[in-house]
Amino acid sequence: MPDRPPAANQAQAGRTAFWLEPGKRAILYQGALLCLLGLLAYYLISNTLTNLERQSIATGWGFLDKEAAFEVGESVIPYSAADTYGRALIVGALNTLKVALIGMAMTLVLGTLIGVARLSTNWLVSKLAAGYIELMQNIPVLLQLFFWYAIFYEALPSPREALHPLRGLFLCNRGVVFAVPQPHPAHKYMLAALFAGVVLVYLLQRWVRARQARSGRGFPLGTVGAGILVGLPALVWLAFGAPRGMNVPELAGFNFQGGVTWSPEFIALLLGLVLYTAAFVAEIVRAGIQAVGKGQQEAALSIGLRRRQVLHLVILPQALRVIIPPLTSQMLNLTKNSSLAVAIGFPDFVSVANTTINQTGQAIEGVALIMLVYLMFSLTTSAFMNWYNRKTRLIER
């Protein structure tokens, strides 16, 4: 009744049982659900502890400080069997990180190239790209890993008969061994110069943009930028008297000493992951570019923009908005797929954690650690991609 006074309305509401009121009922239901979940968690945890106790399986995190006593094939930080399980796990995590970071960078470059090639007006290029995508997408990545790994140890000779295509570069079934510059104090300063160069180019680019918006005058940013990035470190190098000492690998006993070795496991893993994921990235890039209306491109061309400018100013800003979200999940896939390393013997985090679980018998802690580490990697990746996504979002008026 519309003309009922508000007081009467309240009085009637007061008579309704509180569990019939939508708001309170929702709280009631959620409270009950929470209680149930809590009970379930309590049951699972207490049950697990009882079972562990009964089978006298050790629990707790104490094992992290114990001596690992097993060797890890490759490591970015110094490690020996005398170190702790904790350090072995860090070595594994860094190995995963190494593959993931290098893999992501290579995947982005390769995927973009193939995606653009797929759209090429050149029939052959476009069909080759399409063939690549179909082939790589449809073979399970684990098989691809086995394939690349087998190629390495079946096709390449032993270290004593290593292929030697360039001075300081060796290819054999122990991996790719290459010379690196001898450590020198100049390197620190060259790195600093590179950073300074990056900042300089960034500032230059802002200035170029502002000037172009103001006066319409262009600037050869690509050439000058590259000049700065290469030139500054080169100047520092010259200032230090151009140190040219190289750490050249040499065959000693069973294997090469000196230089840097990329193991077959690492290369096979990297190749497999990059070639597989790049196929998906290529499709994403193609879709992103095609999502930008054809009219946009034609309009941009008709007002006299060059092809590169059309790509930079019109197509990419709009395509990125479509590309970034699915790209994020591909980058996450690459990181997660890197755990297949176990199959070909690359000591990634899962591999080291497996050994740890096996030697200590503490599966629950080990699996919890694996989940935690991958969760951390994934959340960091997606946080970064989300930030970038917000940055490239189309700002609509």
Binding site: N47, Q55, G253, A363
Partner: protein
């Protein structure tokens, strides 16, 4: 998902969900199921590997069959689960298998922190190195800088690390979970040498493309007492597995074989009468039929027969009895008294 994670998860599931009180009674579970589930290697010739007809053959396989014969009086009531080194302990802990006969080394931590119990040793082994002849290496002490293929999750992995550490030599492990993949990588030259228990190295070599190109280095760097394993906390089941292995050894000592076991039933020796259940009692105290040992010997044979059939001089492995001979012949095989 890799097979390892599957097993690790199954451990978690079992630990999470089974109720705490009902722990023991593996024997009842096995009887109710109607067959024994044994975890084996699956890739080591002479120890556990299916032959070309799909029948499982090997010393570990026969040890498991002996347990089935003891429990059911029928060595055929058994199913085998092939496990990798990394999977084996979780599979046992999570009750996927009743007994693990998979060249597993008895160690202190496996019995304590892993919560397992090792029965009597069924093969005394030691760790060695297999290497290509053409490398010209004569001793494991010359392996400095070598790349070594090794299975993960084994005592082998730890022993190798200890050995190289003790001798202050650098080395590079290549760790691959599947025995077959590891063998392939080694024979293709990915590693300079392969390290494992010598019996397994002999098995690897026997299936190599050209076995004569490889030699075993003289050093034995560890003790590897390989034994069947059960879970902690079920003493009756442990006794059954433990005394099954001892029965195999005792039968050889008594001179009882699968061929003469029926004759032996008429033996006047009171020890043999007790052993074969002519005088009842021993089987019952294990919770088994009194003829348990008779069934084992009749259907599987004694330890010597099992050894000769699978790894002995007449086989491609041609391993000498060595430590695995009876104590009366200077070996280590010694069963406690059956009384």
């Amino acid at each position: 998902m890799s097979s390892l994670s599957r097993f690790t998860l199954s451990v978690l599931l079992v630990l999470l969900t089974t109720s705490g009180s009902a722990g023991a009674a593996t024997l009842e579970e096995v009887r109710a199921r109607g067959y024994l589930v044994a975890g084996v290697n699956g890739g080591v010739f002479g120890f556990s590997m299916p032959d070309k007809d799909g029948t499982w053959r090997g010393l570990d396989v026969d040890t498991a069959r002996a347990v089935a014969a003891a429990v059911f009086g029928d060595a055929g009531k058994i199913k085998f689960t092939a496990l990798t080194a990394v999977q084996r302990l979780p599979a046992l802990q999570s009750k996927e298998i009743d007994v693990l006969c998979r060249n597993t080394t008895q160690t202190l931590t496996r019995e304590t922190t892993n919560g397992l119990s090792f029965a009597h040793v069924n093969f005394y082994d030691g760790q060695g190195f297999l290497i290509a002849k053409k490398l010209g290496v004569k001793s494991a002490k010359e392996l400095s800088g070598a790349t070594v293929c090794v299975l993960p999750g084994t005592t082998t992995e730890l022993n190798a690390a200890d050995f190289f550490r003790k001798n202050k030599m650098a080395w590079k492990p290549v760790v691959i979970e599947q025995v077959s993949e590891l063998g392939k990588a080694f024979f293709a030259g990915r590693c300079d040498c392969l390290t494992s228990d010598t019996s397994q190295l002999a098995a690897h070599r026997s299936v190599a493309p050209n076995p004569d190109d490889y030699i075993l280095l003289p050093e034995i760097i560890s003790k590897e007492p390989l034994a069947p394993v059960v879970r902690h906390g079920d003493d009756q089941w442990y006794d059954i597995v433990n005394w099954t292995v001892m029965a195999l050894i005792q039968a050889e000592e008594f001179g009882i074989t699968s061929a003469n076991v029926d004759e032996m039933l008429k033996s006047k020796d009171p020890q043999i009468q007790r052993f074969l259940g002519v005088t009842p009692g021993l089987g019952q105290s294990l919770g088994l039929n009194d003829r348990w040992a008779y069934h084992i010997i009749k259907q599987v044979g004694n330890y010597g027969e099992i050894f000769d059939r699978n790894v002995g001089p007449g086989t491609p492995l041609a391993l000498p009895r060595g430590l695995n001979d009876l104590w009366t012949n200077g070996g280590l095989m010694y069963a406690a008294p059956f009384r």
